[in-house]
Each structure stands twice: as C-alpha cells, then as structure tokens.
C-alpha cells in the first residue's frame, strides 16, 4: 500500500518534470527540469530494486549528460531568452500524434497483454553477479562499449574543437 502510494507520487513528479522539459521556453530551466526528472527515474529504479542502476543513473545522467547539456546551452548565446517560439510549425500535429500514441500504448499496457510475472527476490549479490557477467558472458558488449567511448570522444573532439588559425 505504502509502496504503491510512493510509486504514484514519484511517477507524478517524474512525469510533471518531463512535461516541463518539453514545454518550458527557457532552455536552462528546461534542463533543470530534465535533471529533476532523471532523479525521479532513479527513484523508480530503486523501487525496482535496481540500486546499482539507480546510482549509475544519478552519476551519468545528472553528473555527466546533464552537465554536457547545460554547457552546450551556455555555449550558444541567446538561446535561453526565447525570443522566438520554442515550438515549430508541426507542434500541433506532433501533440495530437503523441496523445494518440500515448493512449494506444496505455491501452495495450492496461488491457491487451497479460505479462507473465514471477515472484522472486533480487539476489543480495546482484552487483557481484553483474560484475562477473560483464567480464564473462557479456564481455563483447563490455569491450565494445570501451571502443564506442573511444570513438565518441575522438569524434566529438574532432567536431567541437576550435580550429587553429
């Protein structure tokens, strides 16, 4: 009961912040709401007993990605003031389409599919299992991730660097 109440509150908080992200004129405030909604998602992960992913969410989404976004906003002048409309011409159609998509998805989730659910506890050593899976069964994605990071760094540096004159 308590758990469900907490979940509803957190979910409402997350969704409200996400709405503000897409609706607010000021990009910086938008980014702050994005951070708040990342935090809400982290709490949802805790409710799913995925504590490690929750902390990774805070570490990477709030600590790294949000910082990158804020820096990028600061780097381009006059974007926060919003002299023009933040939305493009197709916003109305996009809104309509999104609402329809949302209703369809919720309908499917609520009525159409019976998901097979098992009642099991998360093992206490879930993190250790994750660690051995990363260098055992899932070693290919693990190493590919490092290559991806290297490639991303090189690519981003190539693009963003100011060329010397």
């Amino acid at each position: 009961m308590v758990l469900q109440a907490i979940f509803i509150l957190v979910a409402l908080f997350t969704i409200g912040c996400a709405l503000m992200v897409v609706l607010h004129r000021n990009l910086f405030i938008s980014a702050l709401f994005l951070i708040a909604s990342f935090f809400g998602v982290a709490v949802i992960y805790v409710l799913l007993e995925a504590e490690f992913i929750a902390v990774a969410q805070i570490l990477i989404y709030i600590g790294a990605i949000a910082t990158l976004i804020v820096f990028a906003i600061m780097l381009s002048r006059g974007m926060m003031t919003g002299r023009t409309s933040p939305r493009n011409a197709q916003a109305l159609w996009a809104g309509l389409g999104s609402v329809i998509l949302g209703i369809a998805l919720l309908y499917v989730v609520a009525y159409r599919v019976q998901w097979p659910v098992v009642q099991k506890d998360v093992p206490a050593d879930a993190i250790a299992r994750l660690g051995s899976a990363l260098v055992g069964r899932y070693v290919i994605p693990f190493e590919v991730a490092s290559v991806l990071l290297l490639a991303a760094l090189i690519g981003a540096v190539m693009i963003a660097r100011e060329k010397e004159v």
């Binding site: 990158l68 002048r77 926060m80 260098v135 990071l149 540096v157």
Partner: protein
C-alpha cells in the same frame, strides 16, 4: 532492501525540506528593505556591460567530454571491482583492455591539446 531505502527516502525528504524551511523562518526574522542600488548586480561598483549569459568558450565543453568518458568507465569498473575476488585472471586481462581503450582516449585528448587550459 527497500526498507533501508525507505530510511534513505525519509532522510532525503527531511534533508531537502530543512534548508528551505529554515530560509522561510529566517525570512520572517530579518529586515527586508530593497532598493534599486542595493539590488543591482554586484560588479565592483560598475554597471554590468551587456548580457551576462554570453557565449562561453568550447574549452569547458571539451573538458566535460573527457570527463563523461571516464565517468562511464566508473560504472563498469565498480561492479568488476566488487566481483573481482571470485574471478580468474581473465577478468584482469579484460579490464586491462577496457582501461587501455580509455587510456588511448586520454592520450588522444592530450596530444590534441584538449587538456591544456588556454
């Protein structure tokens, strides 16, 4: 496990509310007589020239970029460190390859002069 996070959650709510409630209480105790001079932006007595939210150099972004790469490495490193005691030598080899890639990224950034603050 959720029980211990319930304690953290309760603590979180109170720790979050505490500074703001204090600010609210204190705001009733203190004087508040604003005037335009007092409320102007502090700039060693000078008037601010131009908009504050001006464009910043890409330098900051490049540092953040290198940081992001290493921050993600942390997420892979820690579960590995936790599980390491039960793993064989292959775990070390794989981590050496992983960290080697990141070291390559660091060397690249170093060679390109990203790490120099101008």
């Amino acid at each position: 496990m959720l029980n211990s996070y319930a304690v953290v959650g309760l603590y979180l709510l109170i720790a979050l509310a505490f500074p703001f409630v204090t600010l609210l209480i204190v705001s009733l105790m203190r004087p508040s007589k604003p005037n335009p001079l007092k409320n102007s932006t502090y700039e060693c007595g000078m008037e601010t020239i131009g908009d504050t939210w001006v464009q910043f150099r890409a330098q900051y972004y490049l540092f953040a970029l290198v940081f992001v790469i290493f921050d993600i490495e942390v997420v892979f490193l820690y579960p590995w460190a936790v599980a390491y005691g039960k793993l064989g030598l292959f775990a070390l080899v794989e981590m050496v390859i992983f960290i080697g890639m990141l070291a390559l990224a660091l060397v690249y950034a170093w060679r390109k002069g990203i790490l120099e603050w101008q």
